[in-house]
Symmetry: C2
Subunit: 278 residues, 2 copies
């Protein structure tokens, strides 16, 4: 049986600073581009100085160019690409200076483990977090770039199975969002069982599952706002009264309950501190 | 916004009589056969007189023969097949007499709409319900035969999509279980979003999603017991505070929350009246 965290004991999820834009992947880049436009606007609109980090991807140059063109066409004052390929680069003073000169950082999709291996605990990651907390930098991540934002991260997992320990592997993310586990391509890839399993393993973390072409905007005061085509699913394990995840073998089905589970489409808002819909 | 049913206003889910065996489909018929053996035992073991109703299937003779052999090999006193092919047959006195002469009725998989079209509101359905309530008949259903047990039934639906009204179509089931919506092949076919949508449409009903080779035994006192390989998922909408299902277009994503969601593996028990795990 898991110890039950009370809300009072939980650190704040996003206490201060700039909004974050957390995107569920496959966001529209060709038509309305409403999610990318929202990020562009929050990051300063025509004054935006956007830095694209494509390092999660195995084709970083191609992907970076797609986003660079989108933000250039929107009219950003500056659009730059920072393709980190080693931890050495992530700790360079000039890397930090490029982050500090930006008003928005956009992390692309790819593999969140690759991204975290390159930049977790680096000077780059600290500069991103600091800029966000100081209200000087708007961070955005899509797909792998969204997953990496949490302190606890789904490294990999499986779909189409009942919750059991071996359908999800957790690792450490960038830690920009505390006490949150982000999952993406969510209903599109049937990921609710894996997010439930992740939250069973870490009931101190709030599970946030974001569909494709959908995003959460996390506002400084602790409000999550849904935009885009699909839904955002909240898996709240703070009221679990049973949970066998630490008692069963990895391949055995999990017993866990009860979660509080909410599904929210565009326009809905959720209070992350009190864990309720507004 | 849906009116919120309170537990007091809800009719009892399964008040009295014989246990029911509600199976999530694809139960083992060749090796341990533990779920079918449980039904056989509850229905009387060597004294069991089992009636197989294969009418949900498009190949009723073949499927009936598979189950007939299983129960014969287990040593049932009598195993018989009742293949209803018209509503006329479902209302015959001799059909009712065959049900009354049985200690267990087993409804196979297939298409729950076909099954209900043939037998809902018939003398056969009434005889099954009466036998069950009087404690003289153990009812079992697998897959389509499980779905059909509820008063409200998922007629068809889609997987791999965010909850929205058009991913599930509800119709009237046999009504043997009140205030329950049963879904089957559950995590195997990623059916949690469709069951959540069904419960959003009918929050007076408790959603019960059963995995393959897994079953619920519903005991007379209102206890659900899980047996088998997978999990049973409970979707409880009795505490919903928002629900846009009657406000949105069928193709638009649904906002609904918060459900109480529990996942239970073999050995767990759930109190259907108080809606909590035991």
């Amino acid at each position: 049986m898991q110890p039950l965290p009370t809300l009072d004991q939980q650190p704040r999820i996003y206490p201060q600073g700039s909004p974050l834009v957390v995107i569920g992947g496959a966001e529209d880049k060709e038509r309305e581009k409403s999610i990318l436009k929202t990020f562009f606007t929050i990051a300063g609109g025509p004054q935006a100085r956007i830095l694209i980090i494509p390092s999660a991807s195995s084709m970083p140059e191609i992907l970076a160019e797609v986003y660079r063109l989108v933000f250039v066409q929107m009219g950003a004052a500056k659009v730059d690409v920072l393709n980190i390929t080693s931890r050495f680069e992530a700790d360079l003073v000039e890397t930090v200076e490029r982050v500090r000169a930006s008003s928005g950082v956009f992390m692309t999709g790819g593999d969140q483990v690759r991204l975290c291996n390159l930049i977790a605990h680096s000077a780059l990651a600290r500069a991103m977090q600091q800029g966000s907390i100081l209200g000087q930098l708007v961070l955005a991540g899509t797909s792998a770039g969204a997953s990496a934002l949490g302190a606890c991260m789904i490294a990999r997992g499986y779909s189409g199975e009942a919750p059991k320990r071996n359908i999800v592997e957790l690792s450490e993310g960038l830690g920009i969002l505390k006490n949150v586990i982000v999952d993406q391509h969510f209903h599109n890839r049937n990921r609710l069982p894996r997010l439930m399993t992740a939250v069973a393993a870490r009931p101190d973390c709030l599970g946030i599952g974001i569909d494709e072409n959908t995003a959460c905007i996390l506002h400084a005061e602790g409000t999550l706002e849904v935009i885009g085509e699909g839904t955002v699913t909240i898996v709240d394990g703070s009221e679990l009264i049973y949970n066998t995840i630490n008692e069963i073998q990895a391949y055995q089905p999990l017993s866990v309950g009860s979660f509080r589970l909410s599904v929210m489409a565009q326009g809905l808002r959720y209070n992350l501190r009190e864990r309720k819909t507004l």
